[in-house]
């Protein structure tokens, strides 16, 4: 009897699948129509126009399918120079079908050199992934990619819960330099920031106690160069375990490149590099 009951329950579960499939198909066809996006758009951009696509301003690289649901590499590329008179001030990363769709908001300045960002995200379901650039005059440009969810046993949480906590706050911070270890003044230089952190969603429920693990993730990142901000970001648990960012800054004379990271428990992690460009 119990077996039959659990089978029937299970069958009820599976009934949902054809419907979900239809919805996903529709979403793939019409990126603008996605209900979550419509809500996000209304909340964040009200009735403002958004130019999309805008290949001269912004594009996004992502795999067609999330190979590992926990680590999906994304590259947001921008195609305009960060000049004082016209630059990308903000980049919004939106993953429509994740539990918290606004995965990150990045803030740039002319000192960023370029407003590109590479990072890795968790992808929970078939979804549109969007990057929206806001210019310093408020103009908006969007690029969209559809990413299929992973198959098999891959899941968005991390792979080694114990290790993630044991290494908490460990950082790697480096700059891509020429063979002599130097970057060139006046030319955007690529930096990479890695933070060891579980970046928990808080959506994991203990099957026995029915209690949720508290959310615990990196929420704020600030990078400055010679005291001037080059990157600021508000991020959440859509970013993969051990958050990893590649971004640019514009070297111009001796200075310290300094990264500060704050998590949801208000722990603060710091790392700094001496930059002496050629």
């Amino acid at each position: 009897m119990n077996t039959l009951r659990s089978l029937l329950l299970w069958c009820t579960l599976l009934l949902g699948l054809p419907g979900t499939g239809l919805a996903q198909q529709a979403a793939a066809d019409d990126a603008e129509a996605n209900a979550t996006w419509q809500q996000v758009r209304k909340a964040m951009f009200q009735g403002r126009d958004i130019t999309s696509p805008a290949p001269d301003v912004i594009s996004i690289e992502a795999p067609d399918r999330a190979q590992d649901a926990a680590i999906v590499p994304l590259s947001i590329r921008t195609h305009i120079d960060q000049r004082a008179e016209r630059y990308i001030e903000k980049l919004y990363l939106v993953i429509d079908n994740n539990p918290s769709p606004v995965g990150a908001v990045f803030h740039f300045t002319p000192a960023s050199g370029r407003a590109d960002i590479e990072t890795r995200v968790r992808i929970e379901a078939y979804t549109h992934v969007r990057a929206i650039a806001q210019m310093n005059d408020g103009e908006l440009f969007m690029t969209t990619r559809f990413v299929k969810a992973s198959g098999g046993c891959s899941a968005p949480p991390g792979k080694d819960i114990t290790a993630a906590l044991a290494n908490l706050g460990k950082m790697r911070f480096r700059v891509e330099a020429a063979a002599d270890g130097k970057v060139e003044a006046g030319k955007p230089a690529l930096a990479q920031l890695m933070i060891s952190h579980p970046n928990n969603s808080g959506l994991a429920m203990d099957q026995l106690t029915r209690l949720y693990t508290p959310a615990y993730f990196v929420r704020h990142i600030q990078v400055s160069y010679a005291g001037e901000p080059v990157l600021r970001a508000e991020v959440d648990f859509s970013i993969s375990e051990n958050p990893n960012f590649r971004f640019y800054f514009l070297p111009h004379g001796e200075g310290e490149l300094k990264a500060e990271v704050i998590d949801t428990n208000d722990l603060r992690f710091e790392s700094a590099l001496k930059i002496s460009p050629r």
């Binding site: 077996t3 009934l15 098999g152 099957q207």
Partner: protein, 322 residues
Amino acid sequence: MAVRTLRASRAGILVTVLAVLAGAAGELLATQPLPVDELGPGVFVHQGRHQPWAATDADDVANLGFVVGSDCVAVIDTGGSPATGAALLASIRAATPRPVCYVINTHVHPDHILGNPAFAALEPRPRFVAHARLPASLAARAPFYLHALGRDTGATAGAPAFPAYEILVDDSLTLELGDVRLHLRAWQTAHTDNDLSVHVPERGVVFLGDLLFSTHLPVIDGRLLGWLAVMDALSGPNGGLAGHLVVPGHGHPTSEWAHAFARQHEYLALVRDRTRQAIAEGRGIAETVEALAGTGIKGWLLADDFHRRNLTAAFAELEWED
């Protein structure tokens, strides 16, 4: 109007699906046993098909086993759906009238544990056994597995999909089934962070779960370097495999396990070395996955499903090396 038509046709689909499922439910009452091989006296294995797990049509993809002792039976992994678990239970019933006293899960993946409900319903209820780190991993992953099963589309929460574990192993443990003992060993993070092996000394058989893949491409969902270290420990003089028949999580059971180990080691070591090289050259993760997409996969099944994923996981792990 279009919406109405869609609704009407979906209702039609639902009715059809319900009818099919009602038929399936009727079948379950007379569940067909899974085919099993008797590897030694009282040691049975069912070999899953080589497919990536999917809730709907690929729920029988992992190797499942059971060991019959003079007192009772231990089950080692239960399959990728409650129906597969029920079919495994039917195979056990066909082999012995003795009660099932333990259900052991070799790790958290759904193709190995979603058959558990079929055994939780038994009276007396068997005790469920796993690596001490399995419950935390399951808690983090269960919502995703359930999503994959369509649960969040309206079914009741709290269905008995993940029975509780009574026995957690953080190092090693011996269980007795009467005249047969099972030595359980909990490993450091390897294929997953909760791999458990089951050694049956009286029968000369070792169940390695997904610490060993044969034919089916190995899948990294824990720690690549940890996995290579565990393989060294297992295949070394103190690994306990000498003279034993080894049951991988996927692929044929074999007494020529050294060959299977060598194949898996070759693949994992190549992924490690090439990924390390790409990181040292300053390459990015996406670029590296693309560049190595064809490397090392010759002779393996399911490379299209898992190789890029392995490279992604390897890169994210190895970039933290000193």
